[in-house]
Amino acid sequence: MILWLLACSMAPYPDYWPNKSLYPDIKTIEPAVVDGRVGGETITVTGNRLDEAMTVVIGGRNAEIVNVDTHSIQFLMPPLPAGPESVALSVVTESGAATRESAIRVKSPASDFTENETASVALLRYDCPIEGWGVYADGEEAPFGWCGTDMGYATAEAWLGSGPQPGFAAELALVSPLAELPPVGISRVYGPGDVPAPSVALAFKAHGWNEAIRIHTPRDFAADLAFIEERQDLLEATYSWADSISEWTLPFVTLYDDDECWLGDLDMVAAGGDTLDVDGDASGATGMTMGFGIVEEYEDFTYEDWATTGSAFISGEDGVIVGSPSGVELQYDDYSGWFVANGPAVGVAAGDFPSGEYVVSTTDSRGTDKEQGYIEGPTPLDLWETWPDLTVGYADVYLDEDLLVEWIPAPASEMPTIIAVEIVVYDMDTPHPNGTTQVARLVAQGDDSTGRLTIAQADLDQLPSAPNMWDDFDEAMGYWGDMSITRHQLRKVRMEEGDLVVDFVHTINGPVFLSRGFRR
């Protein structure tokens, strides 16, 4: 008994810093507000017993200490991932540690808007050229397949974590995340050896298998047909072999049953609202994709290809299809913890997020549906009026002069709309286990309302040249340049536990020649 009492009275471990009177004392922090999460600002902390500060942690990330004495510490703000505006500061000295909660307010694009975000949805439409152009060693320029006849793709994901997750919606698509954007007018260049900005930390939350989020707008098959026509126009305008196209198929649908098994293809005949006339029997079909096909005639062979532009859940009859609303249903996936697109065959396609008003509804774990509110749909970048023209697959960026980026501004809205521009240089000769090896990257933010952004030559000059070359086997070799112009449009509805934020992301991406002196 005595031994037991003795054991209980002994603490297994001593206090790390036993003398609290020696702990550092934080009095003031200047500046207390910083603009952007990119980092680099010099912050000064004053107080007592700060000498021998060895570790400074701000917002959960390590800061670089640049100066320290008894009464002050100067450190550089580290890059921070999306998260709360107010972040904590901790200082560790030889004799103790001190933490100041809500020490610094870190603003970022739309951070006021996403302050109460607890559910995050990213809907991405990604447009890229059918072909990318490169150069052979002898100087001949030639195109090869880039994004194919789909000329892009779409993704949809949602994350509902276990706590606040402000800014996450603009991160989930992994395309030009807002937290990485410097203030308008400043470019951030990540060079070789720079560690990329930290990604958001996802905190898992238990969900029911049947939980879902729906973001829907009334089906308008006429709009779907118009999107198909725009894609056909784009293909005709940008495909180097367009003269060899002998036949454009009628817009068609590909039908699937409940098991996502292919049932057949039917031509689209007429469209109105959610009703689509087709040239055959669609009975038994519950899902479909839409698109068009081309036939190319060459001397020795005929080549057929087709493009998928949209998708829909449907009920089919002989000659008639009635479509479900456009948009997406995001179903909880208990394997990954994400909410993922539940769509026929392809998940979602580039034409699945038309402009218009969307209703946001949810299904909880008990299977109860609830309409959460309405949001404004996206206004995609105009593929024909955005400069540089990345749809052609051979745009030039001259690193020895300013680069002017232009677009048609989105309509005025109270909702945040942000333009992000990225130029990336890849080394195609260095295989990367997860894609391509990045050498350098430039990131800039544009004010959408102005329709233009100038990237300074001094910033561009930090990028290496990218001649975009093909080898003898038509494989990309050496340095290749790649540019993206992205519009983030944030929307939100208020739910009981916080805001559900939707980011409509539209990106135009394509290869770019990066050169100095040389003009093609």
């Binding site: 603490a11 297994p12 471990y13 001593p14 206090d15 790390y16 810093w17 060895m54 570790t55 942690v57 917002g59 959960g60 990330r61 390590n62 580290p78 921070l80 991932p81 998260g83 709360p84 904590a88 901790s90 560790v92 540690a97 933490t99 974590g161 276990s162 706590g163 606040p164 997750q165 070789p192 050896g193 560690v195 930290p198 990604s199 958001v200 930390a201 996802l202 905190a203 898992f204 996502e260 098994c261 080394d427 260095t430 295989p431 990367h432 286990p433 997860n434 090896t437 050498v439 350098a440 290496p464 086997f473």
Partner: protein
């Protein structure tokens, strides 16, 4: 007082114990499979440690090999022919012997040169996680090298969820002497190991090392070159191409007979400074990679079986058992079928879907790091908090299924 030996039946227990003490004892000729009679002679006792920092260069030179070999990922799509670098680090308290000996990539062979040991798949240390800051950096002084970033990047707040803290566990390209990019692998280089230290949010449940650490060193092993099996050079597959780069469209199968019924002679270019080479034969079971409706949904090297993609040579991340040998770095080692004998009591033949051979040069060292700060402000340490540092150059190839 009631004790286990009192009351009804207690007297009998005492009698059994007394009888047992009176039994004659002797040394019995019980042997470990292929390992001799004294375990401590071939495998030194592991040391309790507070963490492990590891980096490995992999070359997947055999058919149907995937990133599952790292123990961190799945196999699909297959990655045979690839060379890459991967790093991993984790820290915990109280100190655990698992940090010393068990690797997520490839655990070292037995201590004794020329011996083999059969072992089941290893487990990780059962410890409380410890955060050491944003990253663990392994680098040549003055240059950026390999950065193992923390997962999670920050602790979500409220931070009760931050139960996991790991470093690295991402695949990196193999970069050597690149004009712009820092090396991710420099054979023979002495790399410094450091981390910045941190304090997690007050409500976090993880421990932390609050101070920077800048005093670790690991020497990367020299290149492992000219590896052969039975005299045949081990090479990367050239799927669809000849060695000259000409397109044939034919899948190029690269696999070798293993030491299952006849001896397997493994050769390599001997090291200049002696040392050891670890040679590991792994037996793999099947493993599900993804859902599928038909074979076309699965990539090359996989087939659709009852709605899921499975590797035709099994899943490299599913290790049923392995035999690890330690060879002198003299350029040749012969694995005998007897070395595999212990495997067959652990693995049912019908479960074996594939086999691989890993040949590795490893370099190990130890770093002493500052004490751990527990979530409630206590100090855990002993002035000798050791962390295992390990760098491995691993070449993996495919063996024919026994």
């Amino acid at each position: 007082m009631y004790t286990w030996a009192s009351g009804r039946g207690g007297e009998m227990i005492w009698l059994w114990l007394l009888a047992a003490c009176g039994r004659p004892t002797d040394d019995y000729a019980v042997t470990l499979h292929g390992a001799g009679t004294d375990l401590s002679a071939i495998e030194a006792l592991p040391s309790p440690m507070v963490g492990r920092i590891e980096v490995a260069r992999y070359r997947l030179w055999g058919s149907n090999l995937g990133y599952g070999l790292t123990g961190l990922f799945g196999d699909e799509p297959r990655a045979d022919g690839m060379g890459f670098v991967v790093g991993s680090a984790s820290f915990g308290y109280p100190a655990s012997t698992a940090f010393d000996r068990i690797s997520p990539f490839l655990s070292p062979g037995p201590t004794q040169v020329g011996s083999c040991a059969v072992r089941p798949p290893g487990g990780d240390a059962a410890v409380e996680y410890v955060d050491v800051g944003d990253k663990v950096l392994l680098a040549t002084p003055g240059q950026a090298g390999v950065t193992l970033e923390r997962d999670p990047s920050v602790h979500p707040r409220p931070a009760g969820e931050s139960w996991y803290v790991g470093y690295g566990n991402k695949l990196m390209p193999l970069i050597q002497e690149h004009p712009d990019l820092p090396d991710t692998w420099t054979p023979g280089a002495l790399w410094a190991v450091s981390f910045p230290g941190t304090v997690p949010p007050s409500e976090s449940t993880v421990g932390a090392i609050p101070y920077p650490f800048n005093d670790g060193w690991i020497q990367l092993p020299p290149d492992l070159e000219n590896v052969t099996i039975g005299g045949a050079p081990v090479r990367a597959p050239n799927h669809g191409y000849t060695r000259g780069g000409e397109w044939t469209g034919e899948d190029d199968d690269v696999r070798y007979p293993g030491p299952f019924s006849t001896p397997m002679t493994v050769g390599w270019e001997a090291g200049r400074q002696g040392g050891k080479v670890t040679i590991v034969v792994r037996l793999h079971g099947v493993g599900v990679e993804s859902a599928c409706g038909c074979a076309a949904d699965c990539g090359d090297g996989f087939t659709c079986d009852e709605g899921v993609c499975v590797g035709v040579d099994g899943a490299t991340w599913n290790v049923l058992a392995e035999v690890a040998c330690t060879a002198a770095d003299d350029g040749e080692f012969i694995m005998q079928p007897e070395d595999m004998a212990g495997v067959w009591s652990q693995v049912d033949w019908v479960d074996i879907a594939g086999a691989t051979l890993s040949v590795a040069r490893m370099s190990e060292s130890v770093a002493v790091v500052p004490d751990v700060l527990t979530w409630n402000g206590k100090r855990v340490g002993s002035d000798n908090n050791e962390v295992r540092l390990r760098a491995s150059d691993i070449l993996v190839t495919r063996l024919e299924v026994p």
